[in-house]
Amino acid sequence: MKTTTQDEATVSEELAQLSVNNPNLVEMDDPPPPQITSEGIITTDITHKFKAAASTLEPGELIKDGFFTLFESVGSLEIMDPKMDSGCLAPGESLDEEYDVTRPLLPSEVLGIIDQLLCLEMAWHLGYPLSQTLFTNVYIEAMQMPSPTTIQEAHFIRSDDNQGDGAAQNPMFTVLRAYCLGLLKACWYVNERIKSEHYYEEEDFVTNTYHRSLLEDIDRTEIRDEILAARRLLHSIRHEISEEVSQALSLRLELRTAFLRAIELSELRSNPDSLSLPWSQMKAVWAAINKSHHLGKPVPEAFSTKIQRRVASTMPPRPIVHLSFEETFKHFNNLLEDGIEVLKVLNYHDPQSLLNFVLTFQAKKPQPLVYIRTLLQNFLFKDMVILGNLSIRQVLDADLSIVVLPGSRLLDPANDAVEAPYDPRFAMAHQMEVFRQRAAQSYLDIHRAFCQNRCRVRRTLCHSIQDWETVQIDAEDIDQLLAVQLEEQPMSYTTTLTSSSEPALSLPLSSWAYLYKLRLMEWIVQLGFELETYQPDELAGMYWYLSYLAKTRAQHVERIKAFTVSRYNEKRIAGTSKVTKSEEEQHKRSLSYLRVTLIDAAVTWELADGLSCLYTVLHRLKLIPTYPGPYSSDELRYDIRMKPFSTVGLPELPSFETFKNATAQPDTSTADLLTYALRAVEGAKRGFHDGLAVLNEKEAFTVGTHERWVARTKNTLKSVISTSIAIGAVQRALNNNGENNNKECRDDVLHNDLKVEVPKPDKTYHEWWIVPKITVTEKKKAAGGEGV
């Protein structure tokens, strides 16, 4: 069916291309006078006959070509419908651009136009198409159409014959032109950068340039020279136009050169300090630009949606995006700050710090703009070289060394040089390479995923789970083979969380994969809170699941630690000479990492546990709004929420019964639940004070992003404290009703006495911790006062 319509289409297209049917040859009959080129074609006016004939048709009757289906007609453009027909003009509207680009401009007008262009440029960065932003400007359009191939042609006033034309030489035109040159070239680089990395078209950004070149063919050095010349010109005429305005214009030109320079340098991917110079320069200039905005005189006539009719798109004109200068200022400031900060990723220290950098940088609110995010991707992955000078193997091996294999023979680069196939080192090198091939992509994908917008991060992680599941399984096979080569003996271990285990192998590679998989699962749940995926009445259950995952992670880290410690001890007992200084340092670093991870997991587990219990209590008191869904049941919803995890073998997905029980805890009294919740939260608090608060950047594995990490950690601590306050408030209300023995009656009283507000994620201290705000109602306060 589909193929036949396609064939038809191609046949009719071919027919259309036959010279007789070629529309380009058909001339019109109205003024200008008819010139029928093809003598063989005659046109006949059939207006009346046609209309009369059509009117005889029954309602609903159609005359149509047998091969034409109404299904096809759905895709047709409706002429004269202003929402569809881009050629449709309002009464009295003309297609002409009334604006004359050669009209003289006042310096303040040029300033006004430039500031408007700044707003539109930012709107483009925020995700609006060029057609609704920069391409609505008549100067930009005139400069780009027809497409210039040399710097001389790139002018909105083009006159080939009169080079010395006064109009084109007007100093204000020179300034505006230089600004537009710098702007368009920067847009070209930004657009190319975004296109070359992973982003979501129309969701994050629109890369369509509507067949405008954005000065692709013109060299940036030529543009820089033009801008410099314009600035010199401004300097020389500063007394003729006011000094203030001249200064303001010059600053805007400086912004353009600095932006181009920043882009140029970012391609180097090294030496972040020198890379950040133009960004810092822009930031200083930007502050000054904001102060001189009032000097400009807006020229709204220089912007028009009519230009959209000429861009290669059948979309009808859509309105110009108006971003206020205040908003633009804020966004630009963020862009510049993020631009400076993102360069710090190039100060590579260790892979865990790198991951933490990406995690905390992307968790910023508002999230960095798509250009900055693609810049980060470019730094990270361009040409499969990490941060400009590291191989994927270097990063991966360093990560394995930190997490599971400090000072291990498996990571010895000398193994690669062994050529004897019976040598265990030969087998080790081979198996490790198999593993790297298997795991590297999944490992890098975590970083890439976090460079996307927040909703996409969560979606992508949901898909990656399956991937990590298989990495873990494959790694276990490799682990078994390597254990033979290392002559490893199974060992039983005890930790604080688990009693003694059956003797087991250390399985370092699959342990590594499992740890990442667990972190992925936690992130998915946590991002669920951040993105408001869960309704308030689901919070008890989801925090319970989060605590379940975090507890599993803590147990797993303890297991890794047990093997790491025992391996180290074995080595030491075997003879001190065998432990080199570097090995000892690697061990220390690994233990330090395991400690942070353990504390982090424990804090997450305890806080989630405490919150879950609190929400259970609030649920019992009917203080959490529930939404009646006629087609929904708790079990169906559970299936949906757990869908990303349903394919995961370990940790096993709790059954719905277990989940329901853990969420409702019917056998525990409300008072006991609150006591338990408070204890859990106190535990989390201790984790901060004794553990996380005292770490320096090397111990926390946050080199380069420590400040941001500390701020985030503090916000979690604030969440811990506000949770304990909330628990305390409910406890007090409960104790005040201590004399009331009838449980149902007491719950009713509490229900009336307390007011609960579940805040939106952006109103919390930390968007992953939705802590309810509990207040005692006024009525109760008054009653309490009387009692005293």
Partner: protein, 113 residues
């Protein structure tokens, strides 16, 4: 309405059928012309054209510009010639209420003498 245009239903249907897949030039109230293959119509004279091009008369601004060029040139004989601006649209439906003129193209050689 002239008697000649009082067609029977059968004749009317035959006439419209005979136009199918011929190239029509449909002019709308805003003086644009659409050139394309006739595919379908209904009692309201809504017309569907395939592989349609839109033609628009030059704007007054462009006419003035062309005039200025023509008058400065040497071969000024008082008239100027301008191409219509065209644009490809593809499949379009033109509501009957906006149609001011319909013309059909035929090969001169195929017309009855």
């Amino acid at each position: 309405m002239p008697a000649a245009e009082q067609m029977s239903r059968g004749e009317a249907g035959d006439f419209l059928q005979s136009l199918l897949n011929k190239n029509l030039r449909v002019t709308t109230t805003d003086a644009r012309m659409f050139w394309g293959g006739f595919k379908c119509t209904d009692p309201e004279s809504n017309v569907i054209l395939q592989h349609t091009y839109e033609y628009r008369h030059p704007s007054t601004q462009q006419l003035l510009l062309a005039e200025a060029v023509a008058t400065t040139g040497n071969n000024n004989n008082g008239t100027i010639k301008m191409e219509m601006q065209s644009r490809y649209l593809g499949l379009v439906v033109i509501p009957g209420k906006y149609i001011t003129k319909i013309e059909v193209e035929e090969f001169a050689s195929q017309l009855p003498k």
